[in-house]
Amino acid sequence: MRYTFIPELFRQLFSKPFTNLFPLKYAPASIKDTLDKIKKGEIEINPPVEIPDKEIFRGKIQYDREKCIGCGLCIKVCPAKAIELKKEEKKIRIYVGRCIFCGQCVDACPKGALSQGEEFLLADADKLNKEWVIE
């Protein structure tokens, strides 16, 4: 047998699908209608591939305003200039649009005010929307 892949092709035809059907199985006729229906709860979307370890996963940064002392260490180590110091209040502001999700600020924070969340579906058409500015 010189074409060694052919038997595998047939086997694939009958094996269990490998695809994760996020968000829907097939493309709907109208995206807008579907999104409305999802909002109303008429259709359920298929969940994305599960996050394997929630402790380690590096998603959107969570900020605990109360614990922050405004030392600025996170600003010092941030490789992407995603964090800004609000001098008067001694608190910080994080821009998700600049963040590279490395988690170095989480490691550096002496008070444990920062942590990595689980959220990763962040796409948006406006890069200064409220969701993307953490205060």
């Binding site: 074409y3 180590v77 490789p79 992407a80 990595q116």
Partner: protein, 406 residues
């Protein structure tokens, strides 16, 4: 009659920008020129002027997104040499495991791309499906599918948890069982053999003179592997042997087929290394300096220079670092990525090939243009120009023609 054909800069073979200027007579390539100025982001300048060393670690990670542990590895080796920093034993083992996980994912990625270049898309999808297993493990231990963000001066940032080890072992088992199958598809299939045997030959002499590195040079019979020659991290414990194609096929031709052989054998080798590393991993700390603020001060005070060398999936990575006390960024920093050296080996490989062979030959060195740290440009539309699609079509046509026996 000679024609000039520019290929690129937006994807000649991979999804990256580089321009190949070919001189052809009929179907045969006579001369090759490489223009690589499209991906230049000035990373060395950034590390020398703008960043402190900890920030530079993340810049190094993004020199190349595929081999994103190689550059930090070489950088931490260089900096640790420059400032005489101790690294705990457990951290050295974790580094080895991470590096080998990356090698598996990178070689499988390449194998898929190579299959795509000769028009064998079902094999591309199969290989990438197999690759998802290691991506899951990478996400499990690192928190992101691609960038690992694990290296730190003096250790690593994250431990491998106890409950992760059975999952990693399961993945290794999957690859051990699946390896023969994968090797059969890639090495015994007539289609692949027709398109890659005796195509894009790089002789041993050329490989040495052009200073080629990694699988490209090993496929030409040069036993050169940093893990073997000048071991680092915990690699001396594993006694890694450089892989050459004669281990499987009994001869060295130096063509594209041999490069496939070397990469597949390296996947197997990596699986074995990870398995041993998991068995022998000592306990203890994972970093010698857990306080980031203290580390920053130490880095600022340090004075000295160091060279870090690491065997990335594509070949040897070298970082040269010079630290000056009182000066926060690196005083000087030079990155040498593997493709930087391998690009020149395109010239002897492509000479005498047909245009339809360009994608597979160009892909055979596993080019990583962003690794080379430079930049891209769009081909001139007024000249006769082959787009990626045309090139791919030509390549697919050649496969079909060969299969018909023509």
């Amino acid at each position: 009659m000679r024609y000039e054909i520019p290929i690129g800069p937006i994807h000649p073979a991979l999804k990256e920008p580089i321009l190949l200027q070919l001189s052809v007579e009929g179907e045969e390539i006579k001369e090759v020129d490489v223009i690589a100025s499209q991906n230049h982001r000035g990373i060395e300048w950034i590390g020398m002027n703008r960043n402190n060393p900890i920030q530079s670690l993340y810049i190094a990670e993004r020199v190349c997104g595929i081999c994103n542990i190689s550059h930090p590895s070489a950088l931490v080796l260089a900096v640790e040499e420059a400032m005489d920093l101790e690294v705990p034993e457990r951290a050295q083992y974790i580094r080895v495991i991470q590096c080998e996980l990356e090698r598996i994912h990178s070689h499988l990625l390449w194998a898929g791309v190579a299959a795509h270049e000769i028009g064998f898309d079902s094999l591309l999808h199969y290989t990438w499906k197999v690759r998802e297993k290691v991506m899951d493990i990478l996400e499990l231990v690192n928190g992101n599918r691609v960038t690992k963000a694990i290296m730190m001066y003096g250790g690593v940032r994250r431990d491998i948890k106890k409950e992760h080890i059975p999952k990693i072992r399961k993945m290794l088992q999957y690859y051990k069982e699946g390896f023969d199958k994968l090797a059969k598809f890639f090495l015994e299939d007539k289609t692949i053999e027709m398109r890659t045997r005796n195509v894009g030959i790089l002789t041993k002499e050329d490989a040495l003179k052009l200073a080629a590195v990694g699988p490209t040079t090993r496929a030409s019979g040069v036993k050169k592997d940093v893990r073997q020659d000048q071991a680092y991290f915990a690699y001396p414990d594993f006694d890694v042997k450089a892989i050459t194609p004669d281990m499987l096929t009994g001869k060295v031709v130096g063509d594209t087929y041999d490069r496939i052989v070397v990469r597949l054998l390296e996947v197997k080798q990596s699986v074995e290394i990870i398995e041993r590393a998991l068995d022998e991993m000592p306990g203890g700390e994972i970093t010698s300096q857990p306080k980031i603020a203290k580390l920053l001060v130490d880095l600022k005070r340090a004075d000295g220079e160091g060279i870090g060398r690491h065997e990335a999936p594509r070949g040897e990575v070298i970082h040269y670092v010079n630290l000056k006390s009182g000066f926060e960024p690196f005083y000087s920093w030079k990155i040498r990525a593997p493709t930087y050296n391998n690009i020149m080996s395109w010239i002897p490989m492509l000479k005498g090939c047909q245009i339809a062979d360009v994608p597979i030959v160009a892909a055979s060195i596993d080019p990583c243009i962003s690794c080379t740290n430079r930049a891209i440009r769009i081909a001139n539309g007024r000249k006769e120009m082959l787009s990626k699609e045309d090139l791919h079509r030509l390549s697919v046509e050649k496969t079909k023609k060969l299969m018909r026996g023509g």
